[in-house]
């Protein structure tokens, strides 16, 4: 219940007077995504006697999962021998790759970067993959509990001994309602944090144990995605299309994806590096603009949106990986930051990190040594090789592309590690940026606006619960931030959570917490770092369909 940006609070479990249930497992995994489920599955495969518990904040596993998602499948071969007979519900082998540069009116094919060659890869939906993995995990005896967020880590004499799940049934002021159900303490020999990008408990513990003191700052992107149902005959199942360029300026890193599925569906999305500079910039608007490009709009026009959502992703790569273990706890997948940016893929590295983590636990029965074990793994080598590609784009698109070509040619063998800067510090003040004409067009494809987009995300939060977006100092919003940055939260949030409204008492920040799709962008990009994203009541949040 505490505001946990004060890390000293996180170990004070005993001072809480509420009597809480307690349960113990051999291993506790926070987050039912590809990394956490791979760990759970591998653990039970290697030792069926272990008790393995996975908790997940979504109302059902997969409902908060969002990725492109074109994935490499070797990790699945490692986990299961006969899985190809009954793959996940969304499963379309890639047949063709296209990579192009967009201007406002045209599209120029570019040579395909080798990292983006998707021969043998598959287009899937992370939600469908997760649902599929959960079935396999449960069949092996893994306990998967959805609707239970980890609220805080439990520490005992400097060691993480488990997590406390969130309280249920608190009203807006934080007082218990009739339905109040205190969160419980889940304990384990080792807690594995698989929360995904910018996990809230991971964030607490990285700070508490200073796990990032030897690494570069983590950097992020925001991905926004829509699944479309189109009129018959437009899609080429298996076609993977990526673009860079318009509607982004060359100082902003990012690009689009358009994946052709079966049954007249396409997944369309856009990723923007959160080191963008312009406080007026809206990633959501950029995505919507991309959809109106003359080569894209004809594909979508007349179709309808099945589901939409957004999620921050890690882009820091090798040099931003924090120390991945601390006493009693391990970080895996994107909770640590294992995504391979040049490949724009994180699912396979998440799965592999989960497999390695399980192997480590089976051998060592402890968290100690996990960081070293991971850094010697093939996935770590994969990340090391491409470590200097993404940082080159700090210097703009063209120099970034040149650097990427150089890094690729040399296979990352040139020594040295390029540096990152924290994304929120990249934001320039209004006074430092002239408002640019982005040649953006009038839009007419759905969604009309961010609220309509949230509708397609089917996000749901009981309105009578504490606001889960904690602002340390709301005065900054109306004073300094309004002046210096023009409240960029009202632009970068893809779900219209933050609004500045005129009231009779003057301009005020209105937090529409119920719109939140749990993407974590605000926690990352807010220039004053006063927004703290904490999990809302269990089961709240988006209900994505095959994203």
């Amino acid at each position: 219940m505490e505001a946990n940006n004060n890390h000293q609070n996180i170990s004070q479990a005993t001072t809480d007077e509420i009597e809480r249930d307690e349960m113990a497992f051999d291993y506790l995994i926070v987050g039912a995504g590809p990394a956490g489920l791979a760990t759970a599955i591998r653990l039970k495969q290697k030792n069926a006697d272990l008790t393995v518990c996975v908790i997940e904040k979504a109302s059902q596993p997969g409902m908060h999962s969002l990725a492109g998602a074109v994935i490499e499948t070797a990790a699945l071969d490692e986990l299961f021998s006969d899985w190809r007979q009954t793959p996940p519900d969304v499963w379309v082998p890639v047949t063709k790759d296209e990579f192009s540069l967009l201007s406002a009116s045209s599209k120029t094919p570019l040579p395909l970067p080798p990292q983006q060659r998707n021969h043998d890869n598959v287009i899937t939906s992370l939600g469908a993959l997760v649902a599929w993995l959960v079935e396999k995990a449960e069949a092996l005896g893994v306990e998967v509990y959805a609707g239970f967020p980890a609220q805080q880590a439990l520490l005992d004499e400097g060691r993480v001994v488990g997590v406390r799940t969130g309280d249920m049934g608190l009203d807006k002021q934080g007082s218990p309602k009739d339905s109040f159900q205190p969160g419980m303490d889940l304990k384990a020999k080792v807690t594995v944090l698989a929360e995904g990008c910018r996990g809230s408990v991971s964030k607490q513990l990285i700070k508490h144990f200073s796990l990032d003191k030897n690494s570069q700052p983590q950097t992020y992107g925001i991905g926004i995605k829509e699944l479309w149902q189109l009129p018959p005959g437009r899609v080429t199942p298996g076609l993977v299309q990526h673009s860079i360029g318009w509607p982004l300026d060359t100082a902003t890193y990012g690009g689009s994806f358009l994946y052709h599925l079966e049954n007249d569906q396409v997944a369309v999305g856009f990723v923007v590096g959160l080191d963008y500079q312009d406080p007026r910039f809206s990633p959501f608007e950029a995505f919507q603009q991309f959809k109106h490009h003359p080569t894209v709009k004809p594909v979508l026009e007349g179709g309808e949106i099945v589901s939409s959502g957004a999620r921050a992703l890690v882009e820091g790569g090798w040099q931003s990986l924090p120390t991945m273990d601390a006493p009693g706890v391990m970080l895996i997948g994107d909770a640590a930051g294992t995504l391979n940016v040049p490949k724009i893929k994180g699912v396979h590295t998440a799965l592999w990190s989960g497999i390695y983590a399980a192997d480590h636990l089976v051998e060592q029965a402890d968290s100690a040594g996990w960081d070293q074990a991971f850094r010697q793994s093939p996935v770590a080598k994969e990340l090391y090789q491409v470590r200097n590609i993404r940082p080159g784009f700090q210097y703009g698109l063209w120099r970034g592309l040149l650097n990427a070509a150089w890094q690729t040619l040399t296979r990352g063998l040139v020594p040295g590690v390029m540096k990152h800067h924290e994304d929120h510090s990249a934001l320039k003040r209004l006074s430092e940026m002239t408002q640019r004409d982005r040649q953006w067009v009038e839009r007419d494809l759905p969604p009309r606006d961010r609220l309509a987009s949230v509708y397609f995300a089917a996000t749901e939060h009981d309105e009578d619960q504490p606001v889960h977006l904690q602002i340390a100092d709301p005065d900054i919003c109306t004073s300094r931030c309004a002046q210096e940055y023009g409240n960029p939260c009202t632009k970068f949030c893809p779900a219209n959570v933050y609004e500045m409204i005129e009231t009779e008492q003057g301009r005020q920040l209105q937090i529409n917490a119920a719109n939140c799709v749990h993407c974590k962008t605000c926690d990352i990009k807010d220039p004053y770092q006063i927004i703290n994203w904490v999990p809302p009541e269990g089961g709240s949040g988006p209900n994505y369909r095959n994203l």
Partner: protein
């Protein structure tokens, strides 16, 4: 007093419904399913009766495919003592559902059957009344308050005219409305316990219930989109327009 409570597995209330382009129904792939919210209220009420010492046993029943076991496990996690799944992959319409429930009532001999007033998928609002009719039992539909006193129940019903109170002799069928209670949050240890509670699966065919006449669904379509109407220029014009349309 034994209580039988029915639970249906439905597309989650929060899902945005999309009609399949061929008109054969609504999209269900990748969609979340959960217990019908009105049934959840019925389960909650049954458990509260047990906690109050008025019910001795709560049996949750469901009709449908294997996935309904998840729904029954939720009812067990909430506090039901045992569960019964009548397994079938066929579409079960209300009249058939009522006949199946009647069969279970005859086997289990509950003194009270609690059902949700309607399922949020077909919105039929028929099964509780049909079951009561088939059994010749009293029915108290749309209940917002239930008080058991010996062999009778006082039930407050949410009717269009306000709140109606009925007194019914037990056994009876009661259908729950939204305001009957607020279902509890399921506790994690209770989910574990629920895995060990008895869940019996019976094949529908083994109940030997003759098929009922049914209603054919010819097609499913999206509701018509609303269109913009006229604009008026002033408050006076608005009032005149409302009067012309007999709305005020």
């Amino acid at each position: 007093m034994k209580v039988l409570v029915g639970v249906k597995r439905v597309v989650d209330f929060n899902t945005r419904i999309q009609v399949k382009s061929d008109g054969s129904g609504v999209q269900t792939d990748g969609v979340k399913f959960s217990m019908n919210p009105f049934d959840e209220i019925a389960v909650e009420e049954a458990i509260r009766l047990k906690e109050a010492g008025l019910a001795t046993e709560v049996i949750a029943v469901s009709i449908g495919g294997d996935k309904n076991q998840d729904t029954l496990r939720s009812a067990l996690a909430m506090g039901a003592d045992s569960a019964l799944l009548v397994k079938t992959d066929d579409e079960i319409q209300p009249l058939m559902a009522a006949k199946i429930l009647k069969n279970l009532v005859e086997q289990q001999q509950p003194k009270l059957v609690l059902l949700g007033k309607q399922a949020i998928d077909d919105d039929a609002n028929q099964t509780p009344q049909m079951l009561a009719g088939l059994l010749g039992w009293p029915q108290a539909t749309f209940a917002s308050k239930l008080e058991i006193d010996g062999d009778t129940a006082a039930v407050t019903r949410e009717v269009d005219a306000g709140l109606e109170t009925l007194s019914v002799d037990l056994p009876a069928v009661v259908s729950s409305d939204l305001r009957l209670n607020e279902p509890r949050y399921i506790k994690l240890p209770d989910i574990m316990k629920a895995k060990r509670k008895p869940l019996e699966v019976i094949d529908l065919a083994d109940l030997n219930i003759a098929a009922s006449a049914s209603i054919a669904t010819l097609k499913t379509s999206a509701p018509p989109q609303r269109q913009a109407g006229i604009k008026v220029e002033s408050s006076e014009a608005l009032v005149a327009e409302l009067k012309a349309r007999n709305l005020v």
